[in-house]
Symmetry: C2
Subunit: 490 residues, 2 copies
């Protein structure tokens, strides 16, 4: 075997072990008995120790030094392995294991504090998580910004400066659009009624199928905070159900199906290699968000969904399909990011970006977080946060140490805007098929243009290749302005 073959064979087992670590997280959020939390922390730490030892194995460095890639695919494999190796060797094994242990247990503590509406129960844990991630960032950053070192793990190539520039490009037109919408005379109807859990889940399954989710390689379960998990032939999704608010479940499902279809759509030749998973969280979110919004909240698709809901639940309080489309896309300030409309969504992300950047830089202490959150929310959304689960306790991310993750949601939205523009130009029949509940012309194009490549190209590169143009904020803003001008007769 060549050096490259040795390295890739070694990496194959590392990737398989990383899949196991992901499956443990899935289990923790969906199946694990609550009394197992501490033990699970030990298990996660042990597995992280194994992964860290493999990533920092001196042989990996030697193989990388000696390896001569035969083609672009091998070159990409080596690029990923090198990045992972160079990152891992900077982090002490003790720290890597401690982060795994603490964040595993922290999740349960966050969930309890959230249920009890009691931030004080969570703050000591959050302080510990922040301290560990700061320590990790300090080991990684080489004198640069701590936050950049964390961000780079989710979005290679992005920096807090590039993210801030993106937000600067979005905010003025988003705020202006919001003002025009909130000042308009139209108010979409509210959907009222009772939508039983079992039927919501049944319709969720239909929605997943409509978007091409492969059930033979996945499954759907309930979780407090919906997520998608796994790569290759075992890609699982989760959703949640509120019986008075069916869109929560349906659009969470479609969002996670976007993530899952990306993973399922990757070239099977890349299975258990560094190319066999989504290339970055920004690109991942581009898939979840285009499925959820540009496709799932489009007039053709909501028309089909309207019919499905009438079949499933009987007559709806919103009887007209156009009115239903407006209801699905209703713009209003609200506390919860995951339930936010497309106009407010990125404002939620900007708030988190600024706060987490300050937590990581040390400018903000965790004990001051709630006050900072609430003040900022009042400023940006004009509302006083009425309870912690509507404020700083709403998201799971910080409990599991995901600092630097939030901006990738907006990056994903920006990429989704670009991909949607290119898709519409390339595949004119998208809407006609969506109106019949068939998203496959759209998802086939996304698979061919982007998903199948997995980690072959750099994040920005794969979006540029798929679109045929360099991504920017423009297409997303154009799309939002056009869409809401129609709904709100602006």
């Amino acid at each position: 075997m060549s050096t490259v073959d040795d390295l890739i064979a070694f990496q194959r087992e590392t990737e398989a072990l990383a899949q196991i670590a992901g499956r443990l997280e899935w289990d923790q959020e969906t199946m694990m008995p609550r009394g197992a939390a501490e033990q699970r922390g030990e298990e996660c730490a042990a597995l992280e120790g194994v992964l860290h030892a493999r990533r920092t194995d001196p042989r990996v460095g030697e193989w990388l030094d000696a390896a001569k890639p035969a083609d672009a695919v091998q070159a990409a494999q080596l690029r990923h392995i090198r990045r992972s190796h160079e990152r891992a060797v900077k982090i002490p094994a003790r720290l890597a294991q401690e982060i795994a242990r603490v964040t595993s247990v922290a999740q349960g503590i966050w969930a309890e504090a959230r249920a009890a509406e009691d931030p004080a129960k969570f703050l000591p844990t959050l302080a510990r998580v922040v301290a560990l991630r700061r320590e990790e960032a300090a080991a990684l950053c080489g004198g640069g910004a701590l936050y950049d070192a964390l961000l780079d793990d989710y979005e290679p190539g992005a920096t807090q400066a590039s993210i801030a520039a993106m937000f600067d490009g979005l905010r003025p037109r988003l705020v202006a659009l919001r003002e025009r919408i909130l000042g308009s005379e139209r108010t979409p109807d509210t959907l009222t009624g009772h939508f039983p859990k079992a039927q919501q889940l049944e319709l969720s399954r239909r929605l997943a199928s409509a978007f091409g989710y492969d059930w033979s390689r996945g499954r759907l379960d309930l979780a407090v905070h919906p997520f998608s998990s796994g790569s290759g032939h075992d890609v699982r999704i989760t959703t949640r159900v509120v019986e008075a608010e069916p869109f929560n479940c349906f659009y969470s499902t479609i969002h996670e199906v976007g993530h899952a279809c990306y993973e399922q759509g990757i070239d099977p030749a890349y299975l258990l290699t560094p190319l066999g998973q989504g290339v970055s969280m920004g690109v991942h979110e581009s898939q979840s968000r285009i499925y959820e919004n540009q496709l799932g909240r489009s007039r053709p698709f909501t028309g089909w969904l309207h019919g499905q809901m009438q079949d499933m639940f009987g007559p709806l309080s919103v009887a007209d399909a156009d009115a239903f489309h407006a209801t699905v896309n209703r713009v209003q300030p609200g506390f919860i990011r995951t339930e936010a409309d497309e106009v407010h969504y990125n404002l939620h992300v900007m708030l988190r970006f600024d706060l987490e950047r300050d937590l990581i830089s040390g400018a903000l202490e965790v004990q001051d977080l709630e006050e900072a959150w609430n003040a900022r929310f009042l400023k940006d959304f004009g509302q006083q946060v009425d309870r912690p689960s509507h404020g700083m306790l709403q998201d799971v991310h910080w409990s599991v140490g995901l600092f630097g993750y939030f901006p990738t949601y907006t990056l994903g939205n920006v990429y989704a805007g670009c991909l949607n523009k290119a898709l519409r130009a390339a595949v004119p029949e998208v809407d006609e098929n969506l109106s019949r509940g068939d998203a496959t012309p759209a998802t086939d194009w996304l698979r061919t243009q982007l998903q199948q490549h997995g980690g072959l190209y750099e994040p920005r590169e794969v979006v540029t290749r798929a679109c045929g143009f360099a991504p920017s904020e423009g297409p997303l803003l154009d799309y939002l302005e056009a869409k809401f001008a129609e709904i709100y007769a602006l």
Copy 2:
């Protein structure tokens, strides 16, 4: 830290990783999408590679050589670690990983062949599994019998000679008892009716609670072949449902609860150490079988169950509680081991023991297995096997390579007979409480006498300590003869 502390800290991570491997098996049998089977094989092989490397780590040998245990607990820890290390170093890593990979995938192939009633679909896989386990046994046996080397993994200290002697001690009185029962004039009623799945599962949960299963550290799911999984604070059970045959579900559940309560009952100080799990499969089966049979199929408990079933399902076809007890304990030849009455059960095990011993020694080829099974079944049970799922395809064990496991069921029955004798002498109020659906006086005694010790004592030793006498076949046979004399008026 002392050498012992270093060794036990290292072992702690190994135990945590072994727990993860067990959780993966649980997932495979309960949750995994079918398309993930091949990938899962790779994941299991990768994790087995890690475990094998840790068990064979030269530092473990050095620590063991230098370690001076401070007390009996540490001495027991070291004994287990030494046994595991000495065993592992004889097995090449390649072989350990290949066994993990092949048996992971084989399970799905077995399930498909069983559903299709087509042994030919399974035979090539079975041949591969047999060949791998023979290779492993050859590496381990040091010139002794191949089968003994495998048996030792499930029941340290047992040999095929000791097992054969146990069967010789059982068979004559069991066969004689069976003949008397089948020749008697009494025929217990058959329970007929439809018992919906959801209600069977609800009653299963009540049964698990009645036996003291701790739900905060476990959960109940469905599986093709019921099993219990995990140690410490995450011990999960599975059952299955046939809507016409509720006893299948109920007694599978109680059986698995017995296994699970053993794991949950171990001293928490042993968590993630070699003492933190059941000491052998024979002792494990003693717990599952005493819960299922001597307690769960007793007249007091079936009286309570009868009431519970009437509450849950309405009037039963067997209206009288004494008649119901006879129905639960009805003796009749049948194809399926897991559904066998207490008299026939061990005859099923003897059949498997003889066949698997011959498969491992090479005296029987897998292509001749079906014929050998069916001939032996006709001889022992007087019935012609009517389909493969009633014959050689009924059990999952061989597909996952568990050669040497079956005899531990009968060993467990023998131990259960002894434990029951000692329990009845020590705790006179057992029956009175069972009649109210409360098994805790019995399970508390078992926990105190046996379960809490985990791996502290050798298998036979812990049973002897619990009983106050050396185990033998006598108490089981005495119990069976007395019980069925009453039911069948012999």
